[in-house]
Symmetry: C2
Subunit: 281 residues, 2 copies
């Protein structure tokens, strides 16, 4: 039975959203909807236009027999600004202030709507990069990693602080946490990263960058390439302090914390300095 | 400018998919598309029909002034069978066998497509339950928790083995791991669960059920209610062994592991015994 255009558009939208950056052939859709390829092509033009108009992303067309279409999630600049302002407002709420000037972030990292924003922002920032994997270190970055990976259509690998029997053989490195100067260990299962893989490193927080640098070193052991580093919140650099990682994209920047006055000053990170390609407005 | 039906259908599908179980008013869509509510109602009939036909879920209509529409993700029985067979095939691959009869599962837990299946299966199983939160314990269940939470439209909370300064005040319990009989600790930030919250507990693996029982006990300290327990893989019960948690839904069951013969026997868990409502075929 031939499927109506409206049904095709709805199902295509859903299918493509769940399979970002995956090459889907016209034949696949033609068979799925028992429709002519010419109709499918027309549908895809409509989907592409709407995805772009609505700031969902774009469709890349790959011509030829092995060709098809690929949904690349993206954001418009105004959407990115809006998302960053939502995130910034959440992070700067004064009730997150913990003794010692720490911030309580667990609720944000577990909020799937906020994580969707974060995932989309990272996917948009790295839309033109080839990325095979998203990597983070346990525990707090895992939600961010899954969100980014979902919009990038790639798997997540998680480095751990300790080795567990269920990880099989592992590669372990020692690194110096930049801010506390303590020696820490990071362990990654040998099977989890293939040689030559292009990896996006993400984490929830970066101060001196020791953990991110540790992940970079660990990836070197796998002969993998760092395709990018995405940080949710970076802290203001202290005078004379050197960042161990220079090339990163941060969504937010923690400018200052006033424990007595109970205020948290948050501003946008380097996102708009580093990211130049957005969906058209 | 009035928006065409095709564009409305595409954007609605995307919007609803990203906001599962959230009540969206007709006015919201009417303003978003500068269209009459009567047109929006017609659109929603088409979306509902397609979501049901395609096994994406259904739309619940809430009548009245404060009403609107709610997207409830779901699965058809044949899709659940298909998803479970994909998962089962992945888990039973003989190269996952580690010394000691352990299974390497890290790649599966980081595979967002497989996690989408898992999330959808749990969301379908608990589609008719009121759920406010998904809870798991660090580290391996976190990907599953985020996947389930995404389809249920609720936040994730993660209990930890140790207390960290960034968690603020915490509640901690000791519990006996059912299989190893060791005493373990589980810690949850005080702010993360509200009194009376209805919580879905998920985990990657269950043997005697000590960890799941620990999470249940921990939730009692918060006066929260366990709305359900979802387990990715349960292991075969040994003779005379008692399960510490009886009321759970498992996707898969690990029947046996033959280290010498390098085989892993996996079958479907109790999913179809416990879950009775599916989308119509």
């Amino acid at each position: 039975m031939k499927i109506k255009r409206s049904e095709r558009l709805i199902d295509m939208t859903h299918y493509l959203s769940e399979h970002p950056r995956e090459l889907v052939s016209l034949t696949f859709f033609a068979e799925r909807y028992a429709s002519a390829k010419s109709s499918i092509s027309e549908d895809l033009v409509i989907v592409k236009e709407t995805f772009e108009n609505r700031g969902i992303g774009t469709l890349q067309t790959v011509p030829g027999a092995a060709g098809g279409v690929r949904f690349i999630p993206g954001v418009r600049k105004d959407q990115a600004e809006e998302a960053l302002s939502v995130l910034s407002e959440q992070v700067s709420r004064s009730d997150r202030l913990l003794p010692g000037g720490y911030l309580f972030m667990t609720d944000i990292l577990g909020d799937i709507h906020l994580m969707n924003h974060v995932g989309k922002l990272f996917a948009g920032a790295f839309a033109n990069e080839q990325i095979d994997l998203v990597m983070t270190v346990a525990t707090k970055g895992i939600g961010i990693a899954h969100a980014a990976a979902r919009y990038l259509g790639v798997p997540v690998v998680v480095a751990r602080r300790d080795s567990k029997v269920t990880e099989g053989s592992t590669v372990s490195i020692n690194y110096v946490s930049g801010s506390s100067k303590r020696i820490q260990t990071m362990v990654l299962s040998k099977r989890s990263v293939k040689q030559g893989a292009r990896v996006l490193i993400v984490d929830d927080f970066m101060k001196a960058g020791g953990t991110a640098a540790g992940m970079k070193n660990l990836l070197e052991e796998f002969s993998a390439t760092v395709a990018g580093v995405g940080i949710f919140i970076e802290s203001e650099q202290e005078a004379g302090e050197e960042r161990l990682v220079e090339d990163y994209i941060s969504l937010l920047k923690l400018r200052s914390v006033d424990e007595k006055g109970k205020t948290i000053q948050i501003e946008t990170g380097n996102y708009f300095d580093r990211v130049s390609s957005f969906l058209k407005q």
